[in-house]
């Protein structure tokens, strides 16, 4: 008995070491279910708050270039808005000629399908295998897991963890990310994945060999899920390789979003998403 006790005392540092490592491994295994941890992430109050404070200082350095980009985007959106307005009035005229009813009845009934929630990037990594982006908006601002995130250049990623005031994005440049998108000319659907090396490039998978792929072709979101609307730019085909034995292309994509200089993003909230999710959960239960 005494020998056993002595032995246990002698190896107790080893036991503590093994216990702590087990905790670490359990945490690591659980990370693949990326919704499950909110405490050990930048969305918690301590780390999110510190990142926000640090960002409030460092964001001044990039202010002028950010302003320029926002002004450019503003003018593009304003032009688009004018065009859409003129198209709408044109259609209204046509409708009022055909139908004898008041056209405002038809117009007021349309529901806004999606809303953009603007957010600021307060934490961002690009050099890891699993990169994450932290935003300064959270559940209180209407952000929920699985919402799409875009910026003026294109797709950024998908919301993974949300706390009250912060949220964490799983960007394209995370090895766990997988975003559905389509080729511009053939409209073939594939998914974009990242190989963990260069934050400017990713791979487009599942494009079958009968499709004709050209270099420089644009890639957009498919719009098949209520995460991204259709037609948000993802990237451009940089290289398309097809070996004799392969049934799918190996496509290198130059991403349209520059993850190095990310500062302001939009989170996309679909009005019908909850309805669709509810439907899916009902289906999976039955």
């Amino acid at each position: 008995m005494r020998n056993l006790l002595n032995f246990l005392i002698k190896i107790s540092p080893l036991l503590l070491f093994l216990a702590l490592e087990t905790v670490a491994v359990v945490l690591m295994v659980q990370r693949s279910r990326y919704h499950s941890y909110a405490i050990i992430s930048t969305s918690n109050v301590v780390s999110g708050g510190l990142l926000e404070a640090s960002n409030s200082v460092t964001s001044y350095f990039s202010l002028s270039s950010v302003n320029e980009r926002l002004a450019l985007e503003n003018s593009i959106v304003r032009n688009e808005n004018e065009q859409l307005k003129s198209i709408i009035t044109e259609y209204e005229d046509i409708i009022s000629q055909i139908l004898p009813v008041d056209s405002s009845v038809i117009k007021r009934d349309t529901l806004q399908e999606l809303t953009h929630i603007p957010a600021k990037v307060i934490g961002n990594t690009v050099n890891k295998l699993d990169n994450y982006i932290t935003l300064d908006k959270g559940a209180e601002d209407g952000i929920k897991p699985d919402m799409g995130v875009i910026c003026d250049q294109g797709v950024v990623g998908i919301i993974s963890t949300v706390s009250k005031h912060f949220s964490v994005v799983l960007p394209i440049i995370n090895s766990q990310s997988r975003i559905s998108c389509r080729l511009d000319s053939s409209r073939t659907i594939g998914s974009i994945v990242w190989n963990g090396l260069n934050p400017s490039y990713a791979s487009l998978m599942e494009i079958p060999r009968h499709v004709f792929v050209t270099k420089g072709e644009k890639i957009y979101t498919s719009g098949f899920s209520y995460i991204f609307p259709e037609g948000i730019p993802v990237g451009v085909v940089e290289e398309a390789e097809l070996k004799e034995s392969d049934s799918f292309y190996k496509i290198k994509v130059s991403l349209s979003t520059s993850f190095y200089t990310l500062s302001h993003v939009d989170v996309i909230s679909f009005a019908e998403k909850e309805e669709l999710d509810g439907l899916k959960s009902v289906m999976s239960v039955e």
């Binding site: 490592e21 690591m28 405490i39 050990i40 690009v126 963990g196 090396l197």
Partner: protein
């Protein structure tokens, strides 16, 4: 300032340096020094092993919190805290080291490098393999660990050149 106070300050300074500056370095896509491990290296020799592993756990937990990598930094840092005493006995067996705070000036450059390089390499290897969570690109992961060990060591040497101790 007494010794405990100094270590608390070192802990906070290293965490802030790591999460606010060094974790944001993105040179060539894979250069990222992990300077915070200096805290475990700088603990006095003969320091309570449960204490050093507990501190390593806390340190790893905080860094994990800021980098969205649950468990990865905990595993690497706790391993260094556990191995450190054995490593010390093996690398510098005949020095009278009881309660000495290991630093570049106290151990001398060659002894300190022998002490620190091995531990930093162990830390980085565990860290990058835990992050990759596979052995498929093993050579790339090892290369990453080696390159970043060199950079972390240069930063540690810079720290000792700037500080008075």
């Amino acid at each position: 300032m007494d010794r405990t106070g100094r270590y608390i300050v070192l802990f906070i300074v290293l965490v802030l340096l790591q999460v606010l500056i060094f974790s944001n370095i993105n040179y060539l896509g894979f250069v990222c020094p992990y300077i915070y491990i200096l805290f475990i290296l700088a603990l006095p020799f003969g320091f309570n092993r449960y204490g050093s592993m507990g501190l390593a756990f806390l340190l790893g937990f905080i860094i994990d919190m800021f980098s969205n990598t649950p468990g990865v930094h905990i595993a690497a840092t706790v391993a260094v805290a556990f191995v450190r005493d054995y490593w010390m006995d093996w690398i510098l067996p005949h020095t009278d080291v009881e309660r000495v705070e290991p630093s570049l000036k106290k151990l001398g450059i060659s002894n300190y490098l022998r002490y620190a390089v091995g531990l930093v390499l162990i830390h980085h290897l565990i860290l990058f393999f835990a992050e990759a969570w596979s052995f498929s690109d093993a050579w790339f992961t090892i290369l990453k660990a080696l390159v970043n060990t060199v950079i972390t060591m240069l930063l540690i040497i810079c720290y000792y050149l700037i500080s008075k101790r």
